[in-house]
Symmetry: C2
Subunit: 197 residues, 2 copies
């Protein structure tokens, strides 16, 4: 079965509509998804940026917030501009990495995005993440403890390094074989590519 | 009749598919187009960039060239990566500004884009631009002389300043009332917005 790697970062604004849309579209296209959480911070830093490009260029930032509002309205997705941007996402990303092979993984990913971009809650907060884990029938303390283990930390670092090696510079990104697609706008095209090969 | 301002820069890669697609789509949507050539150089400089962002960030640049190739294939548009990027576009932009109210203006704009992104020719070259003007039944020497007049230079400067005042930071951009849309990907959405108001 054709497959597509979904590279996402929980702080990334355009990853939110992609994360909420991707399961239904992939099912329709007959494409298997592989969830790849990673961190944009180290990748931006490697390009000399110490913050989101949307904060470094406020003109572009202002546009992005309005564009995202329009985009979510088009998709009929709920949306609220978070009061903190970008929110630290490292713990959530480690949990998503551990959950990538679990049946509740995709739903957990969507729930984290909703916390950030619908409920405007702090996704770096351990109680917020614990609540989400419990809502997914999971032993929150156990997963949070695993998220803090050196092995998990090393895995997320390695995954971010792999993103960089693949030429990923933003999120969401989609990888199909040797092809890289960047942005929520490219989701349909990436799935069509995956379905064709 | 609803109208949409099409803000374009001849050196801009994603402006090429937008310029080639916009007339048919606008006709279908019943939207009148206003052509607004401008220069990205001064806008990039105001954001601290002395080159195209695709050159300043080679990882993003590499992605853009491949993405544009795929995009043009989807639209069935001819495409060749120009051997020089970005090409100096100031004279072509001044001509397009003068031609904006002329019946041959839109066709001239498309012809300049084709020279750059299909024929890989230097759109800063006066003979190349003169040939295009003559192909449009125009007195090339007269238009080129007008393009070099202080009034024309001031008009293009003013138009670029207006782009900046509108919050434009890249090309192509589309302005409909108070709404700004950025990127070839947003062309359909911008036209739908224009048709609705």
């Amino acid at each position: 079965m054709a497959h597509l790697e979904f590279w996402f970062e929980f702080a990334s604004t355009y990853s939110y509509p992609a994360a909420l849309r991707i399961e239904a579209l992939a099912r329709e296209a007959g494409v298997r998804l592989v969830y790849r959480p990673f961190l944009l911070g180290p990748i931006f830093a490697a390009h000399g940026m110490n913050d989101s490009p949307f904060n470094l260029n406020p003109v572009k930032g202002r546009y992005m917030w309005r564009d995202l509002e329009r985009t979510c309205a088009l998709y009929e997705l709920p949306w609220r501009r978070p009061s903190v941007f970008p929110r630290p996402s490292v713990t959530a990303a480690r949990l998503a990495l551990l959950a990538a092979e679990e049946s509740w993984g995709p739903s957990f990913v969507r729930a984290v995005y909703r916390k950030n971009f619908v409920d405007d809650q702090d996704i770096a907060s351990v109680p917020v993440l614990a609540e989400l884990l419990r809502e997914h029938g999971q032993d929150a303390e156990r997963w949070l403890a695993r998220a803090n283990e050196p092995d998990t930390k090393a895995s997320l670092r390695a995954q971010t390094e792999r993103a960089q090696a693949l030429g990923i510079f933003g999120a969401p990104s989609f990888v199909v074989g040797d092809e890289l697609f960047w942005g929520n706008d490219r989701l349909e095209q990436a799935l069509a590519w995956a379905a064709r090969i």
